[in-house]
Symmetry: C2
Subunit: 206 residues, 2 copies
DNA sequence: TAGATTGTTAATCGATTAACAATC
DNA sequence: TAGATTGTTAATCGATTAACAATC
């Protein structure tokens, strides 16, 4: 249990967390592995296996209690605290990200938003105001930020990534198409709807 | 070769496609499996294995020619044509999606955008104008659309999904947090930045 | 009790990795 | 030739699945 989870297990547990959070919002109290399977496209046996590796969280013939399972998975993933993240880019995508409840639901707080456009500085976005880009370093340190989200045009992405890395950020979520060069100890997640679409199309067409 | 790809292989090939597309935009002509590995976090041996299953596309000591490899992967994934997709929701997220080059780069054309807000109807978005929501059925049929992208609030997502399914759409990309109920022959991809962030944090914190 | 669903086993398959000869 | 990188093998590990007893 003190062992680190494998990448696969951690990814799947995170998805269960998301399904449980939404199911709870829909007023459900209990959920079966079969229902989680329908929402995640992960095999129901796999789900039960993943969970039973950490304890007996379910009740045979009944399913899993959503609230208690949420607590257990959060414990396993150690995501019970609040995490501060920085958003770079206050354009349409940045605004959409900042106003989405999806991060707040999981204890992720958009603690600061930056933009190089002086026009945008000071405007409200999410529950903060857009800060000057020059404030990046100070904010990242003051607010103990380790995650940066890039919602900037592809042409500006590498410089923004370099600046974030320079401030000590270790995890970057890249919403631009650009390929980013970063030191080995920095994790880059590039979000790419087109990639998923291409492969969904493959299975549709064949 | 006439066999269907496994889900894993199709997903990885799609990611290679994205990296190659971007590398070409950056002016590169050749790329090694090691370089692709750095951008995708997929093991270099795995990449060479995936590619060599379909032919000898590389040159030893040199790497892969980006243009020719792009062509080969497109052939394998059968994504050489144009595909029309419908976007539902012309808010900030919808506008961000419509104005991103990421779909067009892969031959995916946002052929129609819908919104229930009469204020938004007629406004330009991407390279089209926002259509009345009532036009959904007609457009989907006329334009041979099989993919729908949902950029609507969570509360409106299920209805929009039902309407898309009713028009014959078989692939739905859901950018809301909502869990969607759909018939078994419809594929739903729910995009969730928070899920990826949670599991990235796990590995950072442990 | 009857029905449902978990927890677990066992068997199979695909992914991952190191290593290295082939060859550009 | 020397250096680099592919293509391929072999070994290991994790994911997937069916099946079913346990039990709520």
């Amino acid at each position: 249990m003190a062992d680190r989870l494998t990448v696969g297990v951690a990814a799947r547990l995170s998805r269960y967390l998301q399904v449980l959070t939404q199911a709870r919002k829909m007023g459900k109290m209990r959920i079966s592995s079969q229902e989680i399977a329908e929402y995640t496209n992960i095999n129901a046996t796999q789900i039960r296996r993943d969970l039973s590796a950490f304890g007996k969280f379910g009740k045979r013939g009944v399913g899993y209690n959503i609230d208690s399972l949420l607590g257990e998975i959060r414990k396993i993933l150690r995501t019970q605290g609040q995490h501060n993240i920085a958003l770079v880019g206050a354009g349409r995508l940045g605004q959409a990200i900042a106003s989405s409840p999806i991060f707040a639901e999981h204890g992720i707080n958009i603690a600061a938003v930056f933009d190089t456009d002086p026009e945008k500085v000071g405007r409200p976005i999410g529950h903060v105001a857009v800060s000057e880009y020059a404030q990046l370093n100070e904010s990242v340190h003051d607010k103990n930020i380790i995650v940066g989200v890039l919602a900037v045009p592809a042409a500006a992405a590498q410089k923004a990534a370099d600046d974030l890395v320079g401030c000590g950020v270790k995890i970057i979520f890249n919403y631009s198409e650009a390929l980013l060069e970063t030191p080995a100890d920095v994790t880059v997640h590039t979000s790419n709807p087109a990639v998923e679409l291409l492969y969904a199309l493959y299975f549709h067409l064949t």
